[in-house]
């Protein structure tokens, strides 16, 4: 009796979970399915689950469109440069907060934690004025360069926590052997925190790849647009018929890198979220 009940319970559980999964992933399915349709199919009054004759026309159009290719390159280019600089500076700052004893460390660390309470949007107005003053509006600089100054206090925090757990004896014995702080940081500590570094870079990638507000404010010509900005211009409220297959194909191509990264790094992401409590 009890055994039967267990079986029924797990069947119900699987049904519920599967239903939830279908609902959560439905937009993804719909995105792919719509990108293979024709315009009239996407606007038809009946439901077309899967197009009868899948057409790759939307993808071909996009891949032959020099603007789209340039926009794609812009996204890859800015994201890569931003991740490299941000990751190295965050790793350096986390080292200072975890492995070195220096006067003022606790105060500086406290100030850094307090900045996590400042909503980033509260800074967009004065930062815009600043970037306008130094003629950075209309360039990629404002969306890449601020990260080079260890942008992201929560990421520094995450990395500091992992670095603190490494036994102190490691660097002390290296010191005795005559190693400098720089050598210890680069040769001993960084290799030991590879997994947290992967977590941080995944978060940085997702944040930068999805960033809309920054690019919207600072990249003021189509040639500089990144994928989210460009794709949102494809949907134009003044058009009577939206080119949905093209929009959805652009969305699929935008999503592919995210899904690949998520697939390979999901272990790090799911753990990192719980440590920092942060949004992806």
């Amino acid at each position: 009796m009890k055994r039967n009940w267990q079986i029924v319970k797990s069947i119900v559980l699987y049904i519920l979970l599967t239903a939830a999964t279908i609902m959560m992933c439905f937009p993804l399915f719909w995105m792919i399915s719509s990108s293979l349709k024709t315009i009239s199919e996407t606007n038809s009054p009946g439901i077309v689950w899967i197009p009868a004759q899948p057409s790759l026309q939307a993808y071909l159009d996009l891949l032959q469109n020099p603007t789209f290719l340039r926009v794609y390159f812009n996204s890859v280019f800015t994201t890569t440069l931003a991740i490299v600089g941000t990751l190295i500076s965050i790793a350096a700052v986390a080292y200072a907060f975890s492995r070195v004893e220096w006067p003022g460390r606790d105060i500086v660390f406290f100030v850094m934690l307090s900045t996590m309470m400042i909503p980033p949007q509260a800074l967009i107005v004065p930062q815009y004025v600043l970037f306008n003053k130094i003629n950075w509006v209309g360039t990629f600089n404002p969306i890449v360069i601020p990260g080079y100054f260890a942008g992201g206090a929560s990421m520094v925090f995450l990395l500091r926590q992992s670095m603190s757990q490494i036994p102190k004896e490691l660097d002390e014995s290296a010191f005795v052997d005559g190693a400098s702080h720089f050598q210890i940081w680069w040769n001993i500590i960084l290799p030991l925190v590879r997994a947290p570094l992967a977590t941080v870079s995944t978060f940085l990638f997702v944040g930068l790849w999805n960033n809309l507000l920054g690019p919207l404010m600072y990249l003021q010509s189509v040639g500089l647009y990144t994928l989210p900005v460009y794709t949102s211009t494809l949907y134009n409220i003044n058009q009577t018929v939206q080119p949905w297959p093209t929009i959805m194909a652009a969305a699929v191509l935008t999503t592919v890198p995210l899904i690949i990264v998520f697939f390979f790094a999901q272990r790090y992401i799911l753990e990192g979220v719980v440590v920092t409590g942060m949004k992806g």
Partner: protein
């Protein structure tokens, strides 16, 4: 600076790296000199140099991108500064703040909308997150796959490109969601009645909130007068101000993965022995959830509540993608941050925009302080 934007960025990035290394070295050397003058040991000197050298990128960045901008924006919030000004801004005292709080209907709309998202959206979002976490916590095969599937929307969901699929799905006439609603309500009349009742309740609630925004309740009277919706009515997701908040709530629920992971961590922390002891004593699983799991989860619930509340102030991408310039819809859905963006960058009124950002920041600080105050009171940390 070179005209080519890519070379420009590369050159600027290289110069920034040199700048950071140079100033870091300077800061480290300065700190070391101070310690030496005070007679610190060589080891202490070396550590001081290294500490400041490695922490300098953050310290410099904090000064350039946070401290100075915050100070300037506080000053500007008391002036009529605009980006186009070539002369010094005029001091206007508290005028921006007074206008913002007493006369600005757009700002009032954003407060009412935030209230709506907090009262209606957040409980839904947290409820679904908790439900999914409880289901996942049953520890069966494939749990990892389900967890990934539930978290995936958080990774994708804030990308404007992905949000556009919701615009397609929510289309009133041909969108898939309304098509499904239509076909179910015609084939099963009972569900059709439920859907219509839901539409009615929803429109009354939203007309009420719009009434608070507008300062008159004409729309509410009209909705009530029209009475029970006709048989063929469907939700007007992205078409009517009565519905424009609901897609945002849907997106909040869709992106509940972060909250779910936090709850899951909370459920994992509950000692198994407690559950087993209660089971031996004959408590049903329903009782076990409410008497054991729920109280132990309260810190996590509280945390999610506060973080969720702060993030409803900041909803940006969904509103931009779904409504953008759609006039009657934008004011009925905007968040505070969206309003800040709209106000600052449509007229480039820096002074006024600064006042808005300070008000938002003060609200967030108050919420955070309340969190620290209240959490001792009703959150159970000491059951263990």
């Amino acid at each position: 600076m070179p005209d080519n934007p890519y070379i420009n960025l590369l050159v600027t990035a290289a110069l920034t790296v040199l700048f950071i290394i140079g100033t870091s070295y300077g800061l480290g050397a300065l700190a070391r000199a101070i310690v030496r003058a005070r007679g610190g040991t060589p080891k202490h000197q070396q550590n001081t140099f290294a500490g400041y050298f490695f922490a300098a990128p953050w310290i410099i960045g904090f000064l350039i991108f946070v401290a100075v901008p915050l100070g300037l924006s506080l000053y500007w919030s008391f002036t009529d500064y605009r980006v186009t000004f070539t002369h010094a801004p005029n001091w206007v005292g508290l005028e921006n703040y007074i206008h913002l709080i007493t006369k600005d209907s757009g700002f009032r709309a954003s407060i009412v909308n935030t209230l709506y998202y907090t009262i209606i959206g957040l409980p839904l979002q947290m409820g679904v997150a908790l439900l999914l976490a409880v289901l996942l916590n049953q520890k069966m095969k494939g749990e990892r796959v389900f967890r990934m599937a539930f978290y995936l929307p958080v990774v994708l969901g804030f990308n404007a490109a992905v949000l556009l699929v919701w615009r397609l799905m929510l289309n009133t006439g041909t969108g898939i969601i309304n098509q499904i609603i239509r076909s179910i309500s015609t084939s099963v009349p009972a569900i059709g009645y439920v859907v219509r009742a839901e539409i009615y309740v929803h429109e009354v609630i939203n007309a009420f909130f719009l009434g608070i925004t507008n300062g008159n309740f004409n729309l509410l009277h009209k909705v009530i007068e029209t009475g029970f919706p006709a048989a063929n009515r469907v939700p007007l997701w992205v078409q009517s101000p009565l519905w424009s908040k609901m897609p945002i709530v849907l997106l909040m629920v869709w992106g509940c993965g972060t909250m779910m992971l936090i709850f899951l961590a909370g459920l994992n922390n509950i000692p198994r022995e407690l559950q087993e002891a209660a089971e031996v004593d004959g408590a049903s699983s329903w009782q076990r959830f409410w008497k054991i799991s729920f109280p132990l989860l309260s810190p996590y619930i509280f945390y999610n509540l506060i973080v969720g509340l702060i993030s409803t102030l900041q909803i940006f991408e969904p509103i931009y993608v779904l409504y953008r310039d759609n006039q009657p819809l934008v004011p009925s859905a905007i968040s505070m941050v969206y309003y800040l963006w709209q106000k600052t960058f449509s007229h480039f009124e820096i002074g006024y925009g600064s006042a808005i950002s300070w008000v938002i920041m003060i609200i967030i600080l108050i919420i955070t302080l309340i969190q620290f105050r209240l959490q001792n009171r009703w959150v159970t940390y000491d059951i263990y």
